[in-house]
Amino acid sequence: MQLPIAVEDLHVQYRQKNGKIVDAVQGLSFAVQPGEVVGFLGPNGAGKSSTLKAMMGFLEPRQGKCDIFGLPSGSVEAKRRIGYLPEVALYYPFLTPLETLHFYGELQGMSGRTLRDETRSMLAQVGLEESSGKLNRNLSKGLLQRLGIAQALLGSPELLILDEVTSGLDPLGRRELRALLNERKSRGCTLFFSSHELAEVEMLCDRILVIHNGKFVEERNLGALREQIGRYALTFISRDFPKNTAQPPTDLGNGQFLARFANKKHLLEAISSVHGSGGQVLDVIAEEGSIEDYFIDTIERAA
């Protein structure tokens, strides 16, 4: 089976208005497996949108290549299998959401009853039924983002490429979007999206890719990452301090100390050590690590 996304040694350059050439992406390589949900993370200006644009064929890489299902990016055949949501969702202001979806559906090769049913269904799924007759120019940013999501999902594409997918959505909209994307995921759709909303990334993704200054930093399986960034806190009374603490133990007074451990193995060793020295274990807490802390740490290390 062909990989939905295969990026190899991608280099993207921009010429700024003052003539200066900027390397937006430098030697990026990664692959996405069928049915995977991958979050593409990086700070502002990291090169996320440039990578997505190269994947869509909107700009030509200086070097390297992006293949979509084994087809060159930007080719008509590749685009037939993709649903794309641009970072800034702007749609023809003189059309209504219904007309917009109808237009994109026709370009996708849909027609007749299938097109009518699909557009109506998509409008209902993204909560735009009531606004389906209003002109796009009169829609709020959040409603335009919903329209963008609807046009990306139209025609049930095998691969969804979404740039800043939660931008402009309220908490209710985010929850609905999550449900919608999870439903697509359960149908085997591959999702690749960039987002600054790390909580969304955490809830949706199987894997994350981190880039900084146009360069690959690291990729992590989210399950393994959660385990890694999780911490264990141990409150104890003992004269001997346990080894392998994440930081030096904190004195809580009354002979009590608080120590944190990066993994379960170190925690269990510490409990044995406390008991062995005749001390007392008062409390053990498993603390969930924050992906935000991980992201900030990773970017700081990369910088």
Binding site: E60, E77, R80, L90, L107
Partner: protein, 247 residues
Amino acid sequence: MVVLESIRRKDLWVVAILGFLVIASAGMLGIFGFQGLELFAKDLGFSVLSMFSTVVAVLTSTRVMPEELKQRTLYPLLARPISRFDLLVGKLLGSILVSWIGFLLLAAMTGIALLWFGVKFDLLTVQYLVAKMLGLVIVCSVGLTLSLCMTHAAGCTVSVRVAFASGLISRALILACASSSDGFRLLFKVLNGVLPAYGLFDLGGRAAYLHWSPVAPWVILALAAYMLIYSSSMLALAWIRFRRLAI
């Protein structure tokens, strides 16, 4: 899409209002008893028709691509299974259609106004309409190409100037060619060849004069061939510019 945009942006309404003004002006002349001035009325009617239809063609064709780029509506559009060439052809055809609708709307209004004067229409009038519509195709292809090579405002300005002054520039080039050395003569000839010969498509003067006979059918065919070659060349230039354009 381009037609729907022109209707909802009220561009074609402006054309309709202009047409109404033509009728109203004609009506005023009629009230003052100028019914005998057929020649004047036809000449004026065809001139107004030619000018406004050219303006509509330029405004539409120079706007379609820059608007897509500026409003970033190009992203969801090009994410669909269409090639950049398909998009350009679609935009050109849309611009031509809007220009033709505007032109025919104005022509209908002008026709009503001229009927007021008791003017009769003949085959030459039909030939005038056909030739003008062929000329509008070239106006649109030039406008679309220029709008991709420069800013929207610059593309619009240059297109209008070329559309209205091509005859004048052509005459200047011919004069320059006659009085220059061999090297420059070739340059002036090339420039004259590159310049769109809009004047060929304007049979208004001929149609305005009474008792002039229609042109031979091969003339219209030759104009159609010129239109096809010129607008295809313009489309090719636009594609060369647009096919690798980073958006």
